[in-house]
C-alpha cells in the first residue's frame, strides 16, 4: 500500500427515518478502493450494499441522512468539506455509476447520442459536435456495432444488453476515476451477463479506473474483483483480497452463503446447505453479532458485538468463533 487511496470510506452510517423509527441501513462501514483495482461488495437483499454506494454517490432519498462521524474521502479530500461547485463536478464525471435496470436508468425520450454527449458538454464544456463524435467512439468501445446510426436511436430500439452497454458508455464518457456498478447484470440473461462483465473488467483495467462492483453472486465476485467485502445486515462482516477470501473463508456467514449457492458440479438431488431464518429487522437489530441468531456456531460470546479486525495482513473479519483457517476444501465441493 502506498500513496492516498482513490476512495476511503470511514465509519459510514446511513440512517433512514421511517414511521417506525430510525433504521440504520448502513452501520459503521469502512473500506478503501485503490486506483486501478476492482472492489466487490457481496450481500443478499437488504444487506445495505446498494444504500452504501448510493450514499457515496449522494443519491439518497429525502428521509435518509448520514451520521456526523461518517467520512468519505475521494483522492484524499473529504467530500463533506468540498464546495457545492466541486461536488457538482465530482458525482458524474469523476465518480460515475451504472445501475441494475438499464431501461429505467436511461431517458426514454432522448436519443442515445444526446444521453452520452450531455455529461461531456456540461462537465467538460465540450462542443456539441465534439461530444457526439466522442459518443460514437465510446459506443464502438463498448462493443456496439454501427455506432453512428445508434446515436440517433432511442433506448426502446435497443435490447437489454445493448442498453446496458449504452449505460456504460455514458458512465465512462468523462473518464471517471471511480466507476460504481450496482448489480449491473442482474436484469440480463446469463450469456449477456458474461459479455457485460467481461467488458467492464476490460475497461476498468485499460483505463486504470477504480471500480466498486455490487453483486449478490459469489461467482461474479470470483471472476471480476481483486478485493471483496461481504456485507450482512448493514455491516461488513469479512473482507480480503478475493483469492484469499475464496481460499480461506473465516466468517460463518461468508461460508454459509458460499455453501448455499448451488453449483453445476453438484450431484443431482444433493441437499443444498441453507441458512435457517432470515436477516434481522434493522429497526431493532441484535445487540451482539447480527448473524448469531442464524449461526450454527454461535457461542455465548456472540451476544456481544464482535470487533471488525485484521486476522492476517489484508484479511479482516468480525466473528467471535470463525473458521480456524486451513484448507476449507471439504466445504467447497
Amino acid at each position: 500500500m502506498h500513496g492516498t487511496p482513490l476512495l476511503e470510506v470511514r465509519d459510514l452510517t446511513t440512517v433512514f427515518e421511517t414511521p417506525k423509527g430510525p433504521l440504520r441501513a448502513v452501520d459503521g462501514v469502512s473500506f478503501t478502493v485503490d486506483r486501478g483495482k476492482s472492489h466487490g461488495i457481496v450481500g443478499e437483499s437488504g444487506s445495505g450494499k446498494s444504500v452504501l454506494v448510493r450514499t457515496i454517490m449522494n443519491l439518497l432519498p429525502q428521509n435518509a441522512s448520514v451520521t456526523p462521524e461518517s467520512r468519505v474521502y475521494f483522492a484524499g479530500r473529504d467530500i463533506g468539506t468540498m464546495t457545492p461547485e466541486e461536488k457538482q463536478h465530482l458525482w458524474g464525471p469523476r465518480i460515475s455509476m451504472i445501475f441494475q435496470d438499464p431501461m429505467t436508468a436511461l431517458n426514454p425520450v432522448r436519443k442515445i447520442g444526446a444521453q452520452i454527449a450531455d455529461p461531456q458538454r456540461y462537465h467538460l464544456r465540450r462542443k456539441k459536435q465534439v461530444a457526439w463524435e466522442n459518443a460514437a467512439d465510446l459506443l464502438a468501445q463498448v462493443g456496439i456495432s454501427d455506432p453512428r446510426r445508434r446515436l440517433d436511436q432511442y433506448p426502446h430500439e435497443l435490447s437489454g444488453g445493448m442498453r446496458q452497454r449504452v449505460m456504460i458508455a455514458i458512465a465512462i464518457g468523462c473518464e471517471p476515476d471511480l466507476l460504481i456498478a450496482d448489480e449491473p447484470t442482474t436484469a440480463l440473461d446469463v450469456t449477456v451477463q458474461r459479455q457485460i462483465l467481461d467488458l467492464l473488467s476490460t475497461l476498468q483495467r485499460d483505463r486504470d479506473m477504480g471500480m466498486i462492483l455490487i453483486t449478490h453472486d459469489l461467482g461474479v465476485v470470483a471472476r471480476h474483483t481483486v478485493d471483496v467485502a461481504v456485507m450482512y445486515a448493514g455491516q461488513f462482516v469479512e473482507s480480503a483480497p478475493t483469492r484469499v477470501l475464496f481460499r480461506d473463508m473465516r466468517h460463518r456467514y461468508t461460508s454459509a452463503l458460499f455453501r448455499s449457492t448451488p453449483r453445476v458440479g453438484a450431484d443431482p438431488h444433493s441437499r443444498l446447505f441453507s441458512i435457517a431464518g432470515r436477516p434481522p429487522d434493522l429497526l431493532s437489530p441484535p445487540v451482539g453479532c447480527r448473524f448469531a441468531p442464524r449461526c450454527e456456531h454461535a457461542l455465548s460470546a456472540c451476544a456481544r458485538p464482535p470487533l471488525y479486525q485484521s486476522v492476517s495482513g489484508t484479511h479482516q473479519l468480525a466473528c467471535h468463533n470463525p473458521h480456524t483457517g486451513g484448507p476449507a476444501d471439504h466445504e467447497r465441493r
Binding site: 440473461d189 461467482g219 438431488h269
Partner: protein, 327 residues
C-alpha cells in the same frame, strides 16, 4: 414424422404422466400477424420425476408451462395428462383436472391475494371443491411447508417475507393433493440462502407425496440439483433433452455448451473459457431461418441457415436438435 422427443424407443419402460406433442402457442402481434412463442415442442414427463426446463428470456419455457396448464391456450398440439388431451376437454373437465395439476409461480408476493388470510388462501381450492375436513387439510399442508396455522393462519400475505410467501404458494398447491406440480421460476425472486430452503422443501415434498415436477428456471445450477432430466429451450424450440448428468457433463447442442460456459463459477482460481458467447437472443417475432441458434453458434454452416434441424436421439434418452452436434 421423424424422431421426436415423444417417440423414444424406450418409453414403454416408464409410466408417462404427461405427454406434450408438437405444442405451438401463438400470440397476436402487429396488425394482423402473430408471434409464435412456442414453435412445435414435444416432450414427456415420467411419473415421479422432475423435468427441468431451462433457457434464456423469450425461449418459451414459461409459455410452455402455462400452455400445459391451459392457462394460455395452445394454438396447436396435444397435451396429454394421464391419458386425456387437455386441449380438447371442456372447461368443466379442465377444472377437475386442475386438482391434480397445480402450479407455483415466480413472484411469491403478487401471486397471493393481499387481502385474504393465509388460511383462506391455502384452503381456497378445498372450499371450491367442498372437500370435507378442509380445516385439517389446510393445517397439514401448512405444516409440511413449515408454517403453523394457529400462529400465522389469520395473517395477510403482506406480513410475510418472500420465502414465506413462496411456502404459502406451495401449501396452496399441495392442499388439493395434486399428482403434478408445475413450478415456474419459483426461486428466482429469492436470495440464495432462502432459495436453498425452498429447493430442499420441494425435494422433500416430492419424495413424501410421490409428486411429479416440472421445474422451469433460467438458472442452470438450480436445474442441476433439482432435475432428473433437463430440457433446454431456445426461441420457442427444444435444443436438447437428456438425463441431468449426461446433459451437463456431455452437452451435445452448442447452445447448452454456451449456457454452461457463461455461468459464473464461485472460484477465482478457475480459468474460464476465454471466448465469451457472442450476441444476444434474437427477437422471437422474427426468428432466424433454419436453426434458430445459428446466428450465435460457433459451428454454424450454410446447412443451418437452409434447413431446420430435427430432434434426433444420440444416446439413450438424450435427444438433440442440431446439424452438427458436439462430440
Amino acid at each position: 414424422m421423424t424422431m421426436t422427443a415423444t417417440a423414444s424407443a424406450h418409453d414403454h419402460e416408464y409410466d408417462i404422466i404427461l405427454s406434450v406433442e408438437e405444442l405451438e402457442v401463438d400470440f397476436p402481434s402487429g396488425r394482423s400477424g402473430y408471434t409464435r412463442a412456442v414453435a412445435g415442442v414435444s416432450f414427456d414427463v415420467r411419473r415421479g420425476e422432475t423435468l427441468g426446463i431451462v433457457g434464456e428470456s423469450g425461449c418459451g419455457k414459461s409459455t410452455t408451462a402455462r400452455a400445459v396448464l391451459q392457462l394460455t391456450r395452445p394454438s396447436r398440439g396435444v397435451v396429454r395428462f394421464e391419458g386425456r388431451d387437455l386441449t380438447t376437454v371442456s372447461h368443466r373437465e379442465m377444472r377437475a383436472v386442475r386438482r391434480k395439476l397445480q402450479v407455483v409461480l415466480q413472484d411469491p408476493i403478487s401471486s397471493l391475494n393481499p387481502r385474504r388470510k393465509v388460511r383462506d388462501i391455502v384452503g381456497e381450492g378445498l372450499s371450491i371443491w367442498g372437500v370435507p375436513d378442509a380445516g385439517e387439510r389446510v393445517r397439514k399442508a401448512m405444516e409440511v411447508v413449515g408454517l403453523d396455522v394457529d400462529s400465522v393462519g389469520d395473517r395477510l400475505p403482506g406480513e410475510f417475507s418472500g420465502g414465506q410467501c413462496q411456502r404459502i404458494s406451495i401449501a396452496r398447491a399441495l392442499a388439493l393433493e395434486p399428482e403434478m406440480l408445475i413450478c415456474d421460476e419459483p426461486v428466482s425472486a429469492l436470495d440464495v440462502s432462502v432459495q436453498a430452503q425452498i429447493v430442499n422443501l420441494l425435494e422433500d415434498l416430492k419424495a413424501q407425496y410421490g409428486l411429479t415436477l416440472i421445474f422451469v428456471s433460467h438458472d442452470l445450477s438450480v436445474i442441476r440439483v433439482i432435475s432428473d432430466r433437463v430440457m433446454v429451450m431456445y426461441l420457442g424450440k427444444v435444443c436438447e433433452i437428456g438425463p441431468v448428468i449426461e446433459l451437463f457433463d456431455n452437452p451435445r447442442h452448442p447452445y447448452t455448451r454456451t449456457l454452461l460456459d457463461a455461468l459464473p463459477v464461485p472460484d477465482p482460481d478457475i480459468e474460464l473459457e476465454s471466448v465469451p458467447p457472442t450476441g444476444e437472443v434474437p427477437s422471437v417475432i422474427a426468428p432466424p431461418s433454419g436453426c434458430r441458434f445459428r446466428t450465435r453458434c460457433p459451428r454454424a454452416a450454410t446447412l443451418c441457415e437452409e434447413e431446420e434441424p430435427r430432434l434426433a436421439e444420440t444416446s439413450e434418452g438424450h435427444i438433440v436438435s442440431c446439424h452438427f452436434p458436439l462430440a
